[in-house]
Amino acid sequence: MDELKTMWETVPPATPEDLAGARRRLLNGMHTRRRVVTAPRLLVAAGVAAVTAVTPLIAGTGTPAYAVTRSPDGTITMTVNELRDPTGLQAKLGEAGIKADVAFLAPNTRCADGRFSSVDAAYNGQPVTDPDELRSLMNEWRSPKVTRPISVREIQIFPEYIDPDETLVLEFREEDEGAEVSWRLGAWLAQAGTPVRPCTPIEDAG
């Protein structure tokens, strides 16, 4: 089958000039995640911000760090009073039937990319700058529909948007003192049966 091997073999390997555009696209694409996920994060933050002024985040002594309750309508309410014990919160969600992976992050950090394979491009997607396109994508993606903030410390979870064996990945990040909101939440769905790697915090100014 040597004839096939030599077929069009004078086609040369690409030069750096041939590849400049593709390389630029890759480098731009490496930094898209923050821009994309800002949208769901901002939506969450906006909901939280509405009551931040009247409700301090950190609860007093004796208040549990978190609670998970199931409502009669089938939704689940996750109350987070303190960003402490992510494994415990994860276990509580598990008891409520939500397979979750929870990470708590210090200010100005985020989990390193590529922890999991998402069911949609809400995580690690291409950049979206047009508000209409973003709105349309938010409607199309399932990840943003799974969680909704209902108060400064309560997040409502809608299990109807989670398919069997998918993992709800929750990354809470504490914000700097004096920030408009106390913490932000990134919430995404990892594909059914795929692993979610532990969060490796890295610096993130955004």
Partner: protein, 187 residues
């Protein structure tokens, strides 16, 4: 981030793992494999689509790098597997290239200048080959060209396309039979 000598000399698996915390390391993987991947795509689709396919391939790879099996130091099967999927979405372009070649005898990315006699002989072989490639099932063509043009081993093709080794062998056998018949029949 500064790309150090240590990063440049790492194997692909180490680079990919490193890129989880230092995304820029992934550019080293691009510089390492993109030139030949581009050539492979150009042979299959022509020069017009190659840059886009290479960019799409590496972007998809970057997004999935968390799932990379770090037990595989060479990322070529992984990258060519992703590229095969991207190429598969442009089947029409590939078929058009083969048809155009059958008509004109010119691949748009080949370096011209070989002697006329050689060119004629080459054409007498390549035209039936192009016709045979056009007639192959996509799955068979992927396997055949990953072996012939990307120079992957059978096991690497199996890894690239996530198919059993036996399937690689049977697809390759079927494709080679068709190619052989096409060459026997000639122009």
């Amino acid at each position: 981030m500064t790309i150090t000598r240590e990063v440049v000399e790492s194997d692909d698996a180490t680079l990919i793992e490193r890129s989880l915390n230092e995304p820029e390391s992934f550019a080293v993987l691009f510089d390492r494999h993109a030139p030949l991947l581009h050539r492979y795509v150009t042979r299959r689709l022509g020069p017009g689509e190659a840059e886009d396919v290479v960019a799409d391939t590496f972007l998809a790879a970057f997004q999935r790098r968390g799932d990379y099996d770090r037990g595989r130091p060479d990322a070529r099967p992984w990258l060519y597997g992703i590229a095969s999927n991207v190429i598969g979405k442009r089947r029409r372009t590939e078929r058009s290239l083969y048809r155009a070649y059958i008509r004109s005898g010119v691949h748009p990315a080949e370096i011209p200048g070989s002697q006329v006699e050689d060119g004629v002989n080459t054409l007498a072989v390549n035209r039936p080959l192009a016709r045979a490639l056009l007639g192959l099932k996509r799955a068979d063509r992927d396997v055949l060209l990953l072996v012939a043009w990307a120079e992957l081993s059978y096991q690497e093709v199996a890894d690239a396309l996530a198919i059993p080794l036996g399937t690689v062998a049977s697809r390759l056998n079927r494709a080679r039979t068709q190619i052989r018949q096409a060459l026997e029949q000639g122009e």
